[in-house]
Symmetry: C2
Subunit: 337 residues, 2 copies
Amino acid sequence: MYNISLITGDGIGPELSESAISVLNTIHDKLDLKFEITTLSAGDQALSETGKALPDETVESIKQSDACMKAPVGESAADVIVVLRRMLDLYANIRPAKSYPHMPALRDDIDMVIVRENTEDLYIGKEFSLGDSSVALRIISEAASKRIAKYAFETAKQRDSMRKVTCVHKSNVMRITDGMFAKACADVSKDYPDITFEEMYVDACAMNLIRQPEQFDVVVTTNLFGDILSDESSQVVGGLGMAPAANIGDNFALFEPVHGAAFDIAGQNIANPSSFLLSMKMMLDWLGNKHNDSKCIEVGQKLESTIFNLVKTGVKTKDIGGDKSTSEFTKQITDNL
Amino acid sequence: MYNISLITGDGIGPELSESAISVLNTIHDKLDLKFEITTLSAGDQALSETGKALPDETVESIKQSDACMKAPVGESAADVIVVLRRMLDLYANIRPAKSYPHMPALRDDIDMVIVRENTEDLYIGKEFSLGDSSVALRIISEAASKRIAKYAFETAKQRDSMRKVTCVHKSNVMRITDGMFAKACADVSKDYPDITFEEMYVDACAMNLIRQPEQFDVVVTTNLFGDILSDESSQVVGGLGMAPAANIGDNFALFEPVHGAAFDIAGQNIANPSSFLLSMKMMLDWLGNKHNDSKCIEVGQKLESTIFNLVKTGVKTKDIGGDKSTSEFTKQITDNL
Ligand SMILES: CC(C)[C@H](C(=O)O)[C@@H](O)C(=O)O
Ligand SMILES: CC(C)[C@H](C(=O)O)[C@@H](O)C(=O)O
């Protein structure tokens, strides 16, 4: 029995959460993998109701759970997710980008993953105004850089792919901070002689993600560059409809879609739950590995293939050219699990 | 008579410079617009020969010229271009991205320009190491933000387009620095009631540049985001083969291609000079406006249309699917001017 904390979020968050709950309950009932779900509040609504975007009870419940799923949050997103990433030391933000059949990717042979450092860089929130000027501190540490580099190489080692790690930075301009990051990655690469290591400036990477996305395997980069490049790479493989993310630490992990709260389509039962459900698949993998529970991994694979088979046969939501509502698409998944 | 200083650069720089000189000489001879060209050294070669990537004589010559053209520079690029931008207060980095016929753009109706703040942000070079950590200062000032915002709105006003300015930032995370930038842009927008103003987070922009690039007109952003997004947008319209840039200040301007020194193809007479020559077209525009010299503007238009007509009829370099060498392509241009 796994205890899953679920932040239901804002905008389309509650609809996606309903979809996720229904899928988890189906897994519980049909596939004999047991879950207990605790829904939690955080985000714009929590802020207006309790004065806090991230209420203490929410944090406490998350800490007591085995893993957290977080639906998208609105304007107060940073107060929820950036805080949680740092508080729970979820240092690796994992964002796969893969061409799936029947999705409008720029090419059909893309299979990469961005490993984004998730605890420092300009996200530490140290900013000051000095009269008419303002300054933000960009912090890069050797320890965090080595830790994420190691995560990236381990990821490359486990993937069934070209075994390459591309370290993306801007050390020609930020010689000390990105110099430190690049050196940490290069140092760690020595422990992985079978894995190709390359470096690329962030501007060149933004270009190459369009020019030859199939040449990337694992990309490791600092927090803000990872933010930008992962949104870009999601679009390279056809959009945020199928873009999951995992925030992983040594002892805990949190799973969320890359996309936001999409207030413009909220409450209409048309949002695509796939990104959130693919992040559930990442959770099942993580739980399986952590608890040595092969059942979790199997169920995760089943969930993923169910989603793809549906999409492949044209059973899909409006954003990717289908006509299914959120709940209809979810029901197709639960029926097919 | 205009005095043009020309940094010949590294890698493919000298070949592109030869092409540029030949075109300027042809304009001088055939079109009766007079130029004197002073070639200057800066970059890797200057560094190894003189110990300085940007020799003092080069700076002095640039200052005495009417405008500067800079071919790409190698590993020491930052020591040349970032220093020149700040030293000469070339605060606006203008990077158009346009779908041209017969270029592999993602769509054929893209016509945007990125107006990148060019003097501050993480480019100020204030970095420190603190034991195992390092810190870079990201400086944003209200004055520089307002100045670039004004430039962006003036650009939108003069363009024959949808009259929209999109301010790109990450104020949900960098509340103070990007908050200041966003507010400066919003404040300036009030002076331009006829121009639509919108804001977009940088991650969303990286995505939307692929998803709906035709919806952008003028994008205004901070230095590093502008670096990343302009390389991306060049690729969105088919690559760096046709991507010029202008670094513009109140009294002086410097023109360069967006691409780098491309050492891998240097010395082979295969580089595409179009980006550099289109930056010459931007120079002709700038000179024409500054000196109220309509001849410059006419010649610039002629240069641009000559390049496009050649590309359209398949007369092009290898990188964009043709078979012409750098010198052959240049000769076609000079013959047709
Ligand atoms: C909401 C925002 C703070 C967040 C980030 O920048 O990390 C989001 O864009 C993401 O990528 O998860
Ligand atoms: C060479 C480098 C310092 C430069 C920059 O980052 O500004 C380049 O990428 C550019 O965009 O002109």
